[in-house]
């Protein structure tokens, strides 16, 4: 099966420091690859470079077969919707002043897919998809619980109709009693939409439960892939 995301010899430097040292892995459609390792080992830097949120200092990133690292920003922009990040801090990933329904509608507008007639229904559908209702859509992030806010962030990511989600500690800021609900949602979305997940997580019990394969990093290097 072809890889959705293929990373080869990825290098990220911060000044003289080598944060990501020739890292290679792939994520297939419908599969979860967990990226694990102690804090500071380079997981988030790897993810940011794989999403081209930051240009890598070396190596290749292929998305659906297409090499991205040398693409001009204009071409990347057309590809970005297909690869969406979901971050750890559910409040930080949404604009504090924006109502939830507007935050979810924004990718549609930005990507020129907003249609006044069908847009609101599409937003309602996305909210329902993640277990939120119209009333949640009228609120702002601080008026939602952490779990609801994380769901809203996922709805916003889904608005772009992604094929890959890069989940950077998506549940570690959530209350334990709320965590399982969000994980179930992620599992369900993956099964029904065939999404590929790059899942950054330091909870090994969770990784064993949730991921198909695991890539372990230490000091910027990949030490094991299973």
């Amino acid at each position: 099966m072809n890889a959705l995301l293929e990373v080869r010899d990825l290098v990220v430097r911060y000044g003289a420091a080598l944060a990501v040292d020739h890292v290679s892995f792939e994520v297939r459609a419908g599969e979860t690859l967990a990226l694990v390792g102690p804090s500071g080992c380079g997981k988030s830097s790897t993810a940011a470079a794989a999403l081209l949120l930051r240009r890598p200092d070396g190596g290749e990133v292929r998305f659906e077969g297409r090499e991205l690292t040398r693409l001009p920003e204009r071409d990347l922009r057309a590809l970005r919707p297909a690869m969406q990040p979901v971050f750890q801090d559910p409040y930080g990933s949404l604009s504090p002043r924006q109502r939830i329904r507007d935050a979810v509608a924004e990718p549609l507008r930005v990507q020129g897919r907003w249609d006044a007639a069908t847009g609101p229904a599409r937003v309602a559908e996305l909210l329902a998809r993640v277990g939120l209702d119209a009333a949640h859509g009228l609120r702002r992030p601080h008026e939602l619980s952490g779990g609801q806010c994380q769901r809203a962030g996922i709805a916003r990511a889904l608005a772009s109709e992604p094929r890959l989600l890069v989940l950077d500690e998506p549940v570690s800021a959530l209350d334990p009693s709320v965590r399982a609900g969000v994980l179930n949602l992620l599992a369900e979305l993956q099964e029904t939409l065939g999404l590929g997940y790059l899942f950054i997580c330091h909870d090994m019990a969770l990784v064993r439960h949730f991921a198909d394969r695991t890539a372990e990093m230490r000091d910027g290097r990949l030490v094991r892939v299973s």
Partner: protein
Amino acid sequence: MSADEPLLSVRDLRISFDGAEAVRGLSFDVHAGEVLALAGESGAGKSLTARALLGLVPRDAVVRGTVRLRGGTELVGAKPRTLAALWGRRVALVPQDALSALSPVHPVGDQIAAAVRSLRGVSRREARARAAAALDRVGVPAARCGAYPHELSGGMRQRAVVALATAGDPDLVVADEPTTALDPDLRDQVLRLLAERQEETGAALVLVTHDLAAVRDHADRVLVLYAGRHAESGPAAPVLDHPRAPYTAGLLASLPPAAPVPGRGRRLPAIGGVPPAPGEPAVGCAFAPRCPLAEDRCRADVPGPRRVGAAAERREVSCHRSADLPGALGELFREAV
């Protein structure tokens, strides 16, 4: 004083801000040599309770109830002078945010020596020797005594904080873990270290954690809080293996299983809903809106702690239905998958 007199007794502790109660009537004992975990979710009142054990509460908090040390010293409402005399000698805090506990402008060895000097009134030279020994005990080599906090790795810094907190051989150490404790390896390291020190000195240790899974490895007893109230307490192993409060059972059921459960795929039993917002009026059991067993009396009256099992176990459950709960409580939450 009798041998089984608790080191610390907390009775009906209530902490409120602006009329909103965050800790709503907690009672528990801590015995010498015991490791007690205070477990619960964000906002459950763990940190407020833990800090009240040291007489440290926010300035704008109203505290009621009693927190009494063996020998009779009352910490609630104690004068700053009284508290200052206890800190480091009888009670000590290990904040898990090590940087906030250490001064950035002095070498760690000097900071510990200064603490030893003020606690023991020994000479400068003697204090320095004791500081080096204290650091050595927690695995920080003598050569690093002169290092500033920012020159140490995260793990070394945590060790230095443990050395600082335990330099005066306190009877009770309180370790508060922030919600964002990032590195689980580091956390385990520090907890093991604290447990070792505790075994050497016979002090009691109160661990604050939001992670029930960590409790089994590190605590003798556990007190599970929900929305500022007691949910369940007792010896760690039986509470975790056979929880008797619906909240504890739901929380444990929602953790990823150690081995895959056939036929369930990746779905986890989830507790529906969310914990109450801070200050939300407390009519009835705070868990009732999320509890699959809730009935009318749950929504009307607050359940108080009731003993279950043998008296020696000191196990209590706060649930109106504690007498008629089904055996496999976790199963109730499996439905919600």
